[in-house]
């Protein structure tokens, strides 16, 4: 097990290094001149020269890469080209709690919807409830998250005026400000995700319910409710764990668009803005962090899997 973990860790690190290299050179393929955009109003050649010198963009690409790379290994992701050259690490550390809050809340919402729905539809297989849950799941999968986001804004923010339409408040500002700003975007992202989990819980519950130990439980005279909750459900959770890995991809992808609708400057929006501004260091940093999360969460899922399911052994 230890060597398996080590092997996966080293493998993940290698992937990250490759990602870093790829990202550095790819963003420079993107047409567009950040300096021209930044200095559009003053347009003086000496300011331009000074800016290029200051940012080190006059050096050969390979030198720039080496500098960035060695700094990155020490945890320094460089500084934004724009404004007062905010350190990329700061920008990302500021964005991270927003995306993580959003991801966390979306995840909670998804589970709150998906667990009862999945259990209900499994225990009442082929009933009207099952069909309704299944239809909901399909709808959830098919609805573009940004569309849902817009509809939610129209209904709950513009018409009913129950919740703020946009923005983010940190948890330190109090629970309600935090929660009220995040609930609509979380619903927008979480709905599609809940559909996936509900389907997964249903099918794995059905599988588990046919297993021998369930028949044993039934023969011991346990009530259906106890059978379901104590025996079937925990075992059915195992495949659901894999979804958590996929969850991150979905949440990040969803967050890119939904953060945009709700004007929340999370990782996704940092990335999109970075791309639009051709802010090389920011894009490099954001992509690196997103993929690090993705790689690590996949790794975590694999390891978690080994812990949850004693049948899986790694050599």
């Amino acid at each position: 097990m230890a060597s398996y973990i080590l092997r996966r860790l080293v493998g993940s690190a290698l992937v990250m290094l490759a990602v870093a290299t790829l990202v550095f050179f790819m963003i420079r393929l993107v047409p567009g001149d950040p300096i021209a955009a930044m200095l559009a109003d003053s347009g003086s050649p000496e300011a331009r020269e000074a800016m290029i010198r200051k940012l080190g963009l006059d050096q050969p690409l390979i030198v720039q890469f080496w500098k960035w790379f060695t700094n990155m290994l020490q945890g320094d992701l460089g500084a934004s080209i724009y404004g007062n050259n905010q350190p990329v690490t700061t920008i990302i550390l500021e964005a991270l709690p927003r995306t993580l809050s959003l991801a966390f809340l979306s995840f909670v919402i998804a589970l709150v919807i998906a667990i009862p729905a999945g259990i209900l539809s499994a225990t009442r297989k082929n009933s009207a409830t099952d069909n309704a849950v299944s239809l909901f799941a399909f709808l959830g999968l098919s609805m573009p998250d940004f569309w849902l986001a817009i509809l939610l804004i129209i209904v709950f923010a513009a018409n009913l005026q129950w919740l703020p339409a946009i923005g983010y408040e940190p948890l330190s500002a109090g629970f309600w400000p935090w929660f009220s700003h995040l609930i609509l975007p979380s619903i927008a992202i979480g709905t599609g995700f809940s559909a996936i989990i509900a389907r997964m819980i249903r099918s794995s519950m059905l599988e588990v319910m046919q297993a021998d130990y369930m028949r044993t439980a039934a023969s011991k005279g346990l009530t259906v409710r106890v059978q379901m909750l104590r025996h079937a459900f925990p075992n059915a959770l195992i495949p659901v764990v894999t979804v958590i890995g996929i969850a991150f991809a979905l949440l990040i992808s969803g967050a890119v668009v939904v953060e945009n609708v709700f004007a929340i400057k999370g990782l996704g929006r940092v990335l999109i803005q970075g791309i639009q501004n051709r802010d090389y260091p920011v894009v490099q940093g954001a992509v690196l962090v997103v993929s690090a999360f993705f790689v690590l969460s996949n790794l975590a899922v694999d390891l978690l899997y080994a812990v949850i399911d004693p049948r899986i052994r790694y050599s």
């Binding site: 955009a37 300011a47 200051k54 500084a79 007062n84 920008i91 927003r98 339409a165 929340i264 051709r278």
Partner: protein, 590 residues
């Protein structure tokens, strides 16, 4: 006073302001006129005129919104939205590149001078000032007892520090603004002297101004040292009426009343939260839900204006906007080739490339464009000179210009150029930014309807678009200028062979000029810059303007309007309504 009297008085004031010999370093003012702690209206108008920054619009008091206003009181909290932007990237004057940034910064910092609602500079941290006979030395007495937000006392060292910082292009983007200063002398702790290389009438209003000038917006030595450059850009220390207590990128800026501000009357509101809001619907929802009571930043999207106007909880104040938007036509494109504009129009009209250019400009149905593209909020444009410039604006050009809307004439020109009904004409790309894509579609549709040519709208991120525009690598481009209060802003920046936007990065061997070069208008533009007599200047301005219009320097499209939206609970007094700025320290809550 009714409107007629107003205009009469304004006209006489304008005449008086311009009534001096252009070579007179004191612009017809006496030394006494120039010194003091508050300039007379006559003095300021004259200074502005000499600086080339005076317009009819400034002389005329703005029209006030008609909705009744409740009585003001001090204190309270205000939530503002900054429209069309995701974050306030920096509040460091040295790095500020966008209007929406100095709109905020102006409330945080003090400068030596600050313009008022007539766009006339008044003393801010300068208590009084004197100008030497030759107009080369400005001795400024600084206000005493001013403190920075961090408690440091303000004195001449801070002026010196700011000056040195702003002069260094490595540290500041605005070194050009104070390029005319030969030397800054510290006379004592509260007195400094600027020595200029040559007389500059606009010195007080442009170089020393705290908001749009930015070069002499006083920054804090201690603050920069303690916070570091990056953090200072977020939560700067200044001497202004408000201090930044919180600023997280993408989340907004929290301003709190600075208790030790030198004017005890200001600011009135205790706490102001500024939230960047990108996107139209979230903005509308936030305003209509009452989350937001005041809108700054980029212009309010025009489709919302009539809706806000009909909302009894909101005040919408519309003024002429100082700017123009055009369709730039690349003269180096094969189908629109013009290599030499220095010919009479009749001569040019014999060239195929010019026929196409003129046809495109003539085909622009500007009324339809304003109605469809801007929901009725805008003014058809035929030149760079906008209606906010009042006195210089040329009403007649709308009908007299060669490029006045004329569908039949446009069609005839296309046919003559060999493309009857657009047949055989190549597909053109119309470059826009993502935000002006919609305008581009309206233009493309108009050109399709009138000329039968296919124009594909090609939205590009600003960073790409500006690069291609600078290289003259485009077919058509939708773009233009804002903040043009003086004829210079449009003419000098855009309509001269040497203009800074005129294809600076083009291949200079293949393209001797950028989008436009014409000797006669060059001469007129230069002459108007140094002409003091308003009538004469107006003549030169309108001459240059007419040439650029007739010879199609570009297809002029529209002038925007300036719209201020706020809740009826917010009281915006006359002196807080400076076009393009938000004087948050003067507004109050009902």
């Amino acid at each position: 006073m009714d409107d007629k009297d107003l205009i009469k008085r304004a006209e006489s004031e304008l005449r008086d302001a311009y009534d001096y010999d252009a070579r007179d370093p004191l612009f017809g003012l006496s030394k006494d006129d120039m010194r003091g702690n508050k300039m007379s209206r006559r003095t300021t108008l004259r200074l502005l005129a000499a600086g080339g920054a005076l317009t009819m619009a400034q002389v005329l008091p703005g029209l006030r919104p008609t909705k009744a206003m409740a009585a003001a009181h001090a204190g309270g909290e205000l939530n503002c939205a900054w429209a069309g932007v995701g974050e306030i990237v920096t509040l460091d004057p040295a790095q500020i590149g966008q209007v929406l940034q100095f709109q905020i910064a102006s409330n945080i910092y003090g400068g030596l001078m600050h313009i008022d609602n007539n766009l006339v500079a008044q003393g801010d941290l300068a208590e009084s000032w004197e100008v030497s006979e030759d107009g080369l030395e400005y001795t400024i007495k600084l206000r005493e007892g001013v403190t920075f937000h961090n408690g440091d006392a303000f004195n001449a060292d801070d002026v010196e520090f700011t000056f040195n910082r702003s002069s260094d292009p490595e540290q500041s983007r605005h070194s050009r603004v104070i390029g005319n200063v030969a030397e800054l002398q510290k006379l004592n702790d509260f007195e400094v002297k600027f020595v200029l290389k040559q007389p500059q009438a606009s010195f007080l209003t442009k170089a020393l101004e705290r908001s749009s000038g930015r070069a002499m917006t006083i920054v804090s030595r201690g603050g920069l040292e303690a916070l570091g450059l990056a953090q200072y850009g977020l939560t700067p220390i200044g001497t202004g009426p408000y201090q930044v207590t919180e600023h997280v990128l993408g989340q907004g800026v929290v301003l709190e009343k600075f208790a030790d501000y030198y004017d005890p009357e200001r600011p009135k509101i205790d706490k102001i939260t500024i939230q960047p809001v990108d996107g139209v619907e979230p903005l509308a929802a936030a305003i209509e839900a009452g989350d937001i009571q005041y809108v700054g930043g980029n212009p309010v999207p025009t489709q919302l204006v009539s809706r806000f106007e009909s909302n009894p909880d909101l005040v919408v104040d519309i003024k002429p906007g100082p700017g123009f938007q055009s369709i730039w036509i690349n003269p180096w494109h094969e189908a629109m080739l013009v290599t030499d504009f220095d010919k009479p129009v009749e001569e040019l009209k014999k060239e195929k490339g010019f026929m196409v250019r003129l046809a495109i400009a003539k085909a622009l149905d500007r009324d339809l464009f304003v109605q469809q593209g801007r929901f009725g909020y805008g003014v058809p444009a035929h030149g760079t000179i906008n209606p906010a410039m009042g006195y210089f604006f040329d009403d007649a050009l709308a009908t007299a210009s060669e490029q006045a809307f004329d569908p039949e004439g446009a069609k005839a020109l296309m046919a003559e150029a060999g493309y009857p009904g657009g047949a055989g004409f190549p597909e053109l790309k119309l470059q826009t930014t993502p935000n002006t894509k919609r305008d581009g579609q309206v233009v493309a549709n108009i050109l399709k309807q009138v000329l039968g040519i296919t124009v594909l709208v090609d939205p590009k991120d600003f960073s790409i678009g500006i690069e291609e525009f600078n290289k003259m690598d485009f077919d058509l481009r939708l773009g233009g200028s804002g903040g043009d209060y003086d004829p210079d802003d449009g003419l000098v920046d855009w309509m001269q062979t040497a203009s800074k936007f005129n294809g600076p990065d083009r291949d200079k061997d293949a393209m001797p000029f950028g989008f436009w070069s014409e000797a006669e208008s060059d001469t007129a533009v230069e002459a108007q810059s140094v002409t003091a007599d308003p009538a004469a200047r107006r003549e030169l301005v309108q001459k240059a303007n007419a040439i650029t219009s007739n010879k199609v320097a570009c297809g002029f499209l529209y002038h925007p309007v300036d719209v201020l939206v706020h809740s009826t609970s917010v009281i915006v007094p006359e002196d807080a309504r400076i076009p393009g700025l938000h004087e948050l320290d003067r507004i109050s809550l009902a």
